[in-house]
């Protein structure tokens, strides 16, 4: 088992591509985007499925080395900007070291 960092970013669906582009540029070997049904935070409840898709959120998951995770932290200005997002990084282990 090999230790890695699991980066989890909850972000507006319209911004998902900008986030995955950033992860690519920082050297991530891959990422996964998951849809979000609903959530509640400082701005109240957000439910997916409004006609314009403006309230839709996604989770961008990325498993990466500690070095890449540090780069993501350093890029937080670009990652967040004026936009709401939740970024968390946790420790995880993976089976195949050469994939991440």
């Amino acid at each position: 088992m090999h230790p890695r960092k699991r980066i989890e970013i909850v972000v507006e669906a319209v911004r998902a591509e900008a986030v995955t582009d950033l992860l690519d540029r920082l050297g991530a070997t891959g990422w996964t985007v998951l849809p979000v049904l609903a959530g509640r935070g400082r701005q109240g409840i957000r439910r997916a499925g409004d006609p314009g898709g403006v309230d839709d959120n996604v989770v961008v998951l990325c498993i990466a080395s500690a070095e890449i995770a540090d780069r993501v932290m350093a890029a937080q200005a670009e990652l967040l900007g004026a936009r709401p997002a939740i970024v968390s990084i946790t420790d995880c282990v993976v089976l195949r070291a050469d994939h991440f």
Partner: protein
């Protein structure tokens, strides 16, 4: 005037959806179906318009109506922005974003008005769907100029903005279907009539049921950020826009049905295309405000009060009774 004229089935389905969500019923329309219905409505409106314009002489007066529609969409954000800045506490970015919604138009409000005209047997110019498509995006540009003038940061370069304005999904489908209908003319009508005409009122009812559910849920989840002045704007602005649209329709020399639709276009506010564009271009603006005002206040107001008001005003103003 009978009960059915005042409250046609699509309006009643909207009310049903609104009441169901307000009472916390578990009634829901799947997202994918709602999106498909909205595509269907745009496609049917575009095709019907194109087929109608293919009739000899039917395209006359299209250019003045198109030009006035574009001018209306481009100019309406200016009074909207001024009203918001003077009368409410909205910041510049959010005021500019809201003003874009009110300059642009709502396809479903148009569909509901056109449905009422058809049900009442009142004809209208076939090219009105082209006017609808032309009015979707000029307001976005004006609002971004207003925001930039106010010193707000807008994101996305010229290319992204051009893509948003020219290749916006609803514009592509409306204009594409309009052209296909125009080119296909009589053959298209024969083939597609059951799909685009017979199914239309039912699809509109189902979509408005979903809109009623969405509007009521939105008010419940996000309505707390609204104050009396914002709600006042969301009712006042469609009245101003509708009056301007009525004037533009008369100036373009449209029929009573056409003038009514132009007024409804002026009164309507976008809740699909513009929110997405504003989220990209003006990220600092509060989407909770602009989507809620347009979708949960102005849209119901137009469906319940605005459409009958403008269709009546158009008949009165054109002397058609």
């Amino acid at each position: 005037m009978s009960f059915a004229d005042l409250l046609p089935p699509p309006v009643l389905f909207f009310a049903l959806g609104f009441a169901a969500a307000a009472l916390r019923s578990d009634l829901a329309v799947p997202d994918a179906l709602a999106k498909a219905l909205s595509l269907y409505l745009m496609m049917a409106i575009g095709l019907k318009g194109g087929i109608a314009v293919a009739q000899p002489g039917a395209a006359a007066a299209m250019l003045p109506a198109l030009a006035l529609g574009v001018a209306l969409s481009a100019l309406m954000p200016v009074p909207a922005y001024a009203l918001l800045r003077a009368g409410t506490r909205l910041d510049r970015a959010t005021a500019a974003a809201v003003s874009a919604h009110y300059g642009s138009v709502s396809v479903v409000t148009f569909a509901a008005a056109a449905g009422q005209l058809t049900a009442a047997g009142v004809p209208y110019e076939g090219f009105m769907p082209a006017v609808l498509a032309a009015m979707e995006t000029p307001a976005i540009l004006t609002a971004l100029l207003l925001a930039r003038r106010g010193g707000e940061q807008t994101t996305g370069g010229g290319r992204e903005l051009a893509r948003e304005v020219l290749l916006n999904g609803s514009v592509v489908l409306l204009l594409g279907a309009f052209l296909i209908g125009w080119l296909g003319a009589a053959g298209a009508e024969r083939q597609l009539s059951p799909f685009i005409t017979a199914l239309f009122p039912g699809a509109l009812c189902l979509f408005l049921l979903e809109m009623g559910l969405t509007a009521a849920r939105r008010l419940r989840d996000r309505g707390r950020g609204l104050d009396v002045r914002l709600v006042g704007f969301a009712v006042l602005m469609p009245l101003l826009g509708g009056a301007l649209g009525l004037g533009a329709g008369l100036l373009a020399g449209l029929s009573p049905g056409g003038v009514g639709l132009m007024a409804v276009l002026g009164a309507s506010a976008s809740y699909i295309a513009v929110p997405a564009a504003m989220r990209m271009a003006l990220p600092a603006a509060d989407a909770g405000i602009y989507v809620t005002l347009s979708l949960a206040v102005t849209f119901p107001f137009n469906i319940l009060a605005g459409i009958p008001l403008w269709l009546w005003a158009a008949r009165a103003a054109t002397g058609a009774g």
